[in-house]
């Protein structure tokens, strides 16, 4: 009995030792991959920022009127910095995935390959969202200014509606690119958009017919009065 007890204890210790010997290199490999990924990500981020700064990306974007839509002065991140951060996290994320695969945990085999194959779609989706967000800001601003100058009541509401419409379209396109419930996104978007347009048409054409007529008459009258305004500007 004593022999069996010592055999079992020694077997258990031997077994744990084998497991530790098996896992330790993989843990070290994973940590090494994470460390290398962090170093490379930081290095590539620095190079990216320097290259984009040398190419005057921020100045060019400001000249094209793009940075104004990123936010208010003082609260607006530099585009170069944003892109640097994007590159950093993309590389670091890949190194994390490689570290997970190095651990050879069940279910993670080939995960890096799958995710790397998915990466282009993610990049496109991110670009679509970023571009859509900037376009939404730009168009909303343009609509707001035009509506205020035309003395349209509810200019802010109109601009907000335009902003959200563009953002929703961009989000739908991004989700479609990612393949996330593609058919459902298209269906939901079509139903929601079509339904909103139908509802507005009915409301405006039937329910608010009198109000629409009065609004149009008021606008035409104001336009005629303004055209006769004896102020010439230049």
């Amino acid at each position: 009995m004593q022999q069996q007890w010592s055999d079992i204890v020694l077997d258990a210790i031997r077994d744990v030792g084998h497991r530790i010997l098996f896992v330790t290199p993989r843990i070290l490999a994973a940590l090494t991959l994470i460390f290398l990924g962090w170093v490379i990500a930081a290095l590539v981020r620095r190079i990216t920022v320097r290259v984009l700064t040398a190419a005057n990306l921020d100045v060019r974007c400001a000249r094209w009127g793009l940075t104004g839509v990123l936010g208010r002065p003082g609260h607006r991140p530099a585009l170069t910095e944003l892109l640097g951060r994007l590159v950093y996290w993309a590389i670091f994320l890949v190194s994390l995935l490689m570290a997970v695969e190095a651990l050879e945990m069940p279910g993670t085999q080939g995960a890096v390959g799958v995710l790397l194959a998915f990466l282009p779609h993610v990049i496109i989706a991110v670009l679509v969202v970023v571009g859509g967000w900037m376009l939404a800001q730009f168009l909303a601003q343009a609509v707001l200014i035009a509506a205020v100058n035309a003395q349209v009541a509810g200019a802010t509401l109109l601009a907000t509606a335009v902003r959200w419409l563009v953002l929703i379209v961009a989000a739908a396109v991004a989700l479609t690119e990612l393949g996330v419930a593609r058919e459902m996104v298209l269906l939901v978007f079509g139903i929601a958009f079509g339904g909103a347009v139908l509802a507005l048409s009915l409301a405006f054409g039937l329910g608010a017919r009198e109000l629409a007529r009065q609004a149009l008459e008021s606008y035409v009258k104001r336009t005629r009065e303004d055209s006769g305004e004896p102020v010439s500007h230049v």
Partner: protein, 414 residues
């Protein structure tokens, strides 16, 4: 010919051939147009008649340069003004993207090419242009008395409010010279000034006629050129087939002046005060009745702007300016005021915001519209309260406010 504005880069081959067919010209009037079929033939005819009457002993010619019209302007000029004209009339058309600015540049290049001793520049939309405007414009340049001739018009107080309340005061504070008109629609230049102009490809950022004319004026104001103002009479402008709305007018008129500030800050930053420019009065009958202007609509536009555009204005205006702007939202149409000093500060803030590209530039200038209308409403109320002599003092106060704001503007400019 030395480097500078040359014809080869300004016109296509057929336009160059048309200019060269004129031969050497002493007195040239350039008429430029973009979709001005209604008024271009009359402008060309008036220029030709004026040259024939006043400069009969000299080699004189008219050059019509079209900026890419789509309404048959070129054909209308050819059919009604070229044939049977008392002096040679050449017609040219720019190639590529339409724009009267490139037509202006081409006209200036042509004047230099033919060796003109005096070149008049007329916008075809200036429907009040007549043959007896040719001598006052070109005469001083041909006599060597001026390098740049600028028009003065008889105006009602409600006419040219953008000029009297923004363009002229800003130009005066920048360059220290008191001119009534910044976008007069006509003028004259000497060979000395023509030789100083940049090549045509450097004018690409000014596609509109207003842009090119503002840049020409800036060149004259910034340099040591003899400038003369001549009184021509009333100004009437045909808006063309598609009249621009006020916001577009601000973009087209104010934008070039702000871009001029950027091009060479050294020419204006250290200028302080201002001086009169020599003026020639022809004894033209003065005075024009002011129209019945309703400030209440303009005040309403200002209030709407203050309510809805404040997030944008906060990106352009300083905190100090905003603090003084907020209380104006509580004033009604009868007691509305927009002091000249505050207006000058608003314009300076917008100039700095335009320079720093805090917003897309087109949006920035369009968002100035309610502020401008607020200032016009206050201006109308101020001049209604003042007598006719006091109205001139109101205008002078606006100009002095811009001059007082100049040091702060220069300090903030980077």
């Amino acid at each position: 010919m030395a480097e500078g504005l040359t014809l080869e880069t300004a016109l296509p081959p057929d336009g160059i051939a048309a200019v060269e067919a004129l031969g050497p010209v002493e007195a040239l009037v350039v008429v430029t147009a973009l979709n001005q079929a209604r008024t271009a033939p009359a402008a060309v005819g008036a220029a030709a008649a004026g040259l024939a009457r006043v400069f009969a002993g000299r080699k004189a010619a008219v050059l019509f340069v079209d900026g890419g019209s789509q309404d048959g302007t070129v054909e209308a000029v050819r059919d009604h003004a070229v044939t049977g004209a008392p002096v040679p009339v050449a017609s040219a058309r720019i190639s590529g993207r339409p724009g009267r600015g490139r037509a202006v540049v081409a006209g200036l290049a042509a004047a230099r090419h033919v060796g003109a001793r005096g070149a008049g520049l007329v916008e075809a939309g200036l429907s009040s242009f007549t043959d007896d405007w040719v001598e006052p414009l070109l005469g001083p340049v041909l006599a060597g008395e001026a390098d740049y001739v600028s028009p003065i018009y008889t105006r009602a107080l409600t006419e040219g409010t953008l000029t009297t309340n923004l363009l002229a005061p800003l130009a005066r504070s920048l360059f220290g010279k008191r001119l009534q008109e910044v976008l007069g629609g006509c003028g004259a230049v000497s060979p000395t000034l023509l030789d100083s102009l940049a090549p045509a490809e450097d004018w690409g950022d000014e596609p509109t006629g207003q842009g090119a004319e503002t840049r020409l004026l800036g060149q004259a104001l910034a340099g040591d050129y003899a400038i003369l103002e001549v009184h021509l009479g009333r100004k009437q402008v045909d808006p063309g087939a598609a009249p621009a709305d006020l916001a577009q007018t601000l973009v087209d008129s104010v934008g070039p002046l702000l871009r001029l500030m950027e091009r060479d800050p050294a020419t204006w930053q250290d200028v302080r005060g201002s001086r009169d420019v020599p003026r020639r009065d022809r004894g033209v009958a003065g005075g024009a009745a002011a129209g019945d202007v309703r400030p209440d609509r303009m005040v309403r536009a200002f209030h709407l702007g203050l309510k809805d555009l404040l997030p944008l204005w906060e990106q352009a205006l300083s905190d100090e300016t905003l603090t003084q702007l907020y209380p104006l939202g509580l004033l009604g149409a009868d007691d509305f005021r927009f002091p000249p000093a505050l207006w000058a500060r608003v314009v300076a803030d917008f100039a700095v915001a335009h320079h720093e590209r805090r917003l897309p530039r087109d949006h920035l200038l369009r968002s100035l519209t309610p502020l401008y209308l607020g200032r016009v409403a206050a201006f109308v109320l101020e001049t209604q309260a003042a007598l006719s002599r006091g109205a001139a003092e109101v205008l002078e106060r606006v100009c002095l406010a811009f001059e007082a704001e100049k040091p702060a503007l220069s300090a903030r400019w980077r």
